[in-house]
Subunit: 481 residues, 2 copies
C-alpha cells in the first residue's frame, strides 16, 4: 500500500505551490520530459495525443472558413527578416542563428523562424499579381524557435509547436473581417472544446505584435488568478505589403497594395488546460479534447468473467463513438484509479463480480467524483450523457471562477491593492497613454491584457485609474504567464 | 484560343527532356515554388494536400501496429551527435549549425536534426529502466535538414518533411520483426495507395544507414528507368544502446541493452507519384491519394439549368464519399479540362444542356482518356467503380513498366551495356565485396539498389557480374535519384 500511494503523494498541492503543482502534473501525467537541449521539451505520447486532438479540431474549423494548408521553409535569411523595421526589432533579439551549412560558413546567416510573416510576404510578392489571385488564406502547422531565457513546459519553451495563418486580401475591410473571424474561431474552439472561457479583446499599442496595425487576443484566467494570452489574430494593414512590395492589379487596372493578417495558436494551450481545470489529483481533461474519454477498470479482475465482461463493455463504449480504453494491467484497482485521475480521463467504469451479478456498472466522474450506478444496457447512453455534462460543467466552473476573480477599480490605491491581494483580472479605465501602462507594470507587475471587444469604451466621465485624466478605454489588467 | 493553349504548350515532353518535364509539372500543377532560401521549397496548397493524404494514410497504418506519436526537439547538441561514431561520420558533413541564440554565442553549437536517432537515444536512456518499459514504439512527423549541394523539388531539398519512427525492444528478434513489419507497412502503402509497385530488399553494407546493422528498403522505378529509394527501415541492433547506455533490468534481474530500429518516409514520395504516373499532359494522381478525385465541369454553363444541375451532381458525388469539386470559374471548358488534367484529377464529369436533356453525363478518365456516358441516376456508382478501376490500372501499368525495364546480366560487358543503353533495373549476381560495388559505380554510375528479400540468394554456380568470383547474392542495380 505504501507504494500504491506514491503516485498521488508525490504531487504538491495547488494551494501550497501552484508552480510546483504544475510541474508535477506535467511530469506525473506523462505529458512532457526534459531533454539535453536546454529549454526544449519532449512531448510524450499522452501530451502529443492532446495536441493531435487540438490540431484536428482547429484544422477542421479553419478549413470550413476556406483556409488552405501549406509549408514554408524553417529558415529566414537575415536580409529578409530585416525588411520590416518593427518586426525585426521585435524578433531579432530572440532568434537562433544558423551560420554554417555542412563544413562551410554561410554567405548570409539565417535564423530559424520565430514566426513566418517575412517568408509569407516573400512568397506572396511572387504569387500575387492580379485581383484574381486574392484572397490568399494560407496556414501552416510547424514548430518555431524563440530563444527565451527562462522556460516552462508548454508555457514558454525555446521551441514550440503551433499553427500560423497568413492571409492577403484586396481591401482593408476584408483583412479586418478575416482578423476578427479567426479570433472568433479561436474563442469558439477554446470555449466549446477546451471548456475555457475567454475574453475577446484588442491589445494596446504597447502589447501588440511587432509590425501589426492591430492585435486581437483571447485572454483566459488560470486557476491561480494569472492571465494567459491564448491566441492572437493580427491585422497588418498594408505595412508588410509596402515593405515587401506585394501589389496587385485591381479590376480598375490600378496597382494596389494587399492587406494582410496573421493568427496563431500554440502548444501552450495544453498548459492552459492543465491550469484552468486541474486539481490536487492531477489533470482534468474536457471530454472533447481527451485522448481517452472513458477508462474501464475491472475490480477483482482475476475472478471468472470479469475481464470478459470488461472487454465486452469496452466494445460497447467504442461502438457508441466513445474513445475508451481498458486497464487490464496487473496493478490494483486503487492504483489504476489514481492513474486515471492523474491523467485526467473524464470518466471511469468500475466493473466487478458483484456488479456483474446485478447487471450493473459504476460510473465515476473525474470532475466531481460523483458515482452513478447504471444498468449495463444503459452504459453507453449514460456515459455519453455524462461526458456531455462534464464538458458543460467544466466550462461553467471555469467561467464562475473567472467571474469570481474579476474585480473593478476606479482609483489607483484600490487598483494596486486588488492586484496585490486578489489574483485575477482587474477592470479599470485607462487614458490611452503608454506612460500609465509602464507605470502600472513597474508598480504592480500587471500588464494590460486587452481592451474587451464588448464594453471596451470608457463610460462618460470615467478617469484613468493611473493618472486620473479622462479615460478612453476600459482595460482588463492582470499578471500574466 | 492562343492564351487557352498556353498551359499545355508550356510543358516539355517527357521523351524530350524528362528532368525539365518534371520541373514543369511541379510548377504547372502548383505543387511547389522556389524561395529566397536556397535549396528549400514552398509546398503549395495542392502539394500539401497530397502530403496530408499521405500522412493520414500512413499514420492510420502506423497506429494499427501500436505506434504512438511524440515530438522531440529540432536541435541536437554537437556532443550528442558525436556519441555514435558511424552516425556522426555519416551526417556531420551535411548538417546546418546553430551557433548563436539571440545576441549571445552558444556555449556548445547545435545542429538542426538531419534525423533524430541521437535525440531518441538520449530520451530512451532516461525513460527505459525495466522490461516493463518496453517496447517503445514512437514516431514523429517533422521536418529535417540536410545541407545538400544540388537540390530538386521533393526529390532532394535542404529541408524536407517526413516521419521518423524510433523503437526500442527487449530482444534482437523483436527489433528485427519490427524492422520488417514497418518495411511491409511502407510497401503496402506504396502499392495500395500510391499505386507504385516496389521491390522489398536489403541494402548492402556500403549503402546502409550510418550506424545501422541492417537497412531494408523499398525501391521503385520511375518512368525514365531510374530507381528511387522510397522508404527505409533500419535495424540498429544494440549499437546505439551501447553508445548511449540504454539498459533495462530484465525479468531475470540482469541488466541488458535494448535493441533499436528506425524507419522513415518523406515528401519525396510526391516526386515518385509524379515520375511513375505522369504524362505529357501533367500529373496523374492515383484516386486514393488525390485531394480531388472528381472534377465536375459544366459545358455552356451560362445556359439555364446547367450550373444548378452541376451543383446537384457535385452533391450526389460528395454524398457517395467521393472527394469532388465543381469548376464553375469563367474559363472555357477546354481550359478547365487541361487544368484538371495538369493537376492529375483522376476523373472528370462533363455536363451540358444536351446531357441534361438526355438525363446523362460524360465521365472521362484521366489515365486513359476513355469517355463513358452514364445516366444521371448511376453517376455516383459509376464514378466509384471507375475510381477503383483507375487505381488498379495505374498500379498494373506501373508494374508492367517496371517488369519491361528489369533486365538480367551475368557477365560484365552485358551488364555495362544494359546499364548504359536500357534504363531500368539490372539483376545481376554479386560476390559480396565492396570493391565490386565501387568499380560498378565508377564504370557505370549505377549503384546496388538492394538484395531482394525474395530471391536474393545467388543461385548455385553463379559468379559475380563484376569480378567473376563465386556470387553470394543477387542484386538489383540501377541508376538512382
Amino acid at each position: 500500500m505504501a507504494k500504491e500511494k506514491k503516485l498521488v503523494e508525490a504531487i504538491t498541492s495547488m494551494e501550497e505551490d501552484f508552480a510546483q503543482w504544475y510541474t508535477d502534473v506535467v511530469k506525473k501525467a506523462e505529458l512532457t520530459d526534459y531533454t539535453s537541449v536546454k529549454g526544449c521539451m519532449v512531448i510524450k505520447p499522452y501530451g502529443y495525443a492532446i495536441w493531435e486532438n487540438i490540431q484536428h479540431e482547429l484544422d477542421r474549423r479553419f478549413k470550413e472558413t476556406g483556409v488552405e494548408n501549406v509549408y514554408l521553409p524553417m529558415f529566414i535569411p537575415e536580409s529578409l527578416l530585416q525588411k520590416e523595421k518593427d518586426h525585426v526589432e521585435g524578433f531579432a533579439p530572440e532568434v537562433a542563428w544558423v551560420t554554417h551549412g555542412g563544413l562551410e560558413p554561410l554567405q548570409e546567416r539565417m535564423c530559424v523562424r520565430p514566426t513566418s510573416e517575412t517568408l509569407f510576404c516573400d512568397f506572396y510578392a511572387k504569387e500575387i499579381h492580379s485581383h484574381r489571385d486574392l484572397p490568399k488564406v494560407y496556414n501552416q502547422w510547424c514548430s518555431v524557435v524563440r530563444w527565451e531565457k527562462t522556460t516552462r513546459p508548454f508555457l514558454r519553451s525555446r521551441e514550440f509547436l503551433w499553427q500560423e495563418g497568413h492571409t492577403a486580401h484586396a481591401t482593408a475591410e476584408e483583412a479586418e473581417a478575416r482578423t476578427i473571424q479567426m479570433l472568433n474561431v479561436y474563442a469558439d474552439f477554446c470555449e466549446q472544446v477546451l471548456a475555457i472561457p475567454v475574453i475577446k479583446g484588442r491589445k494596446t499599442d504597447k502589447e501588440k505584435f511587432a509590425g501589426a496595425e492591430a492585435t486581437y487576443t483571447i485572454e483566459s484566467l488560470m486557476h491561480d488568478g494569472k492571465a494567459l494570452q491564448s491566441g492572437t489574430s493580427h491585422n497588418f494593414g498594408d505595412g508588410f505589403a509596402k515593405a515587401f512590395g506585394i501589389q496587385y492589379t485591381d479590376k480598375d487596372n490600378t496597382l494596389k497594395y494587399v492587406h494582410q493578417t496573421s493568427w496563431g495558436m500554440t502548444t501552450r494551450m495544453i498548459g492552459a488546460i492543465i491550469m484552468v481545470h486541474g486539481d490536487d489529483s492531477g489533470l482534468k481533461l474536457p471530454p472533447r479534447i481527451a485522448p481517452v474519454q472513458v477508462m474501464v477498470i475491472p475490480i477483482q479482475q482475476r475472478k471468472e468473467g470479469v475481464l470478459e465482461k470488461s472487454e465486452e463493455l469496452l466494445a460497447v463504449l467504442k461502438e457508441a463513438g466513445i474513445r475508451a480504453k481498458l486497464d487490464d494491467s496487473d496493478k490494483s484497482p486503487g492504483w489504476k484509479f489514481s492513474e486515471q485521475e492523474m491523467r485526467g480521463i473524464p470518466l471511469r467504469v468500475e466493473i466487478g463480480p458483484k456488479d456483474i451479478e446485478n447487471n450493473q456498472a459504476v460510473l465515476v466522474r473525474r470532475d466531481t467524483r460523483e458515482k452513478v450506478v447504471v444498468s449495463l444496457e444503459n452504459l453507453a447512453a449514460k456515459a455519453n450523457e455524462l461526458l456531455d455534462a462534464i464538458q458543460q460543467d467544466m466550462f461553467d466552473r471555469a467561467l464562475a471562477h473567472r467571474e469570481a476573480h474579476t474585480y473593478e477599480a476606479s482609483d489607483y490605491e484600490t487598483f494596486k491593492q486588488t492586484i496585490d491581494e486578489k489574483p485575477g483580472f482587474v477592470k479599470a479605465p485607462w487614458c490611452g497613454c503608454q506612460e500609465c501602462e509602464d507605470k502600472i507594470k513597474e508598480d504592480t507587475t500587471a500588464t494590460s491584457r486587452c481592451i474587451p471587444l464588448v464594453g471596451g469604451e470608457a463610460v462618460e466621465g470615467a478617469t484613468c485609474v493611473c493618472c486620473g485624466k479622462p479615460a478612453k478605454k476600459l482595460v482588463y489588467w492582470g499578471k500574466a504567464y
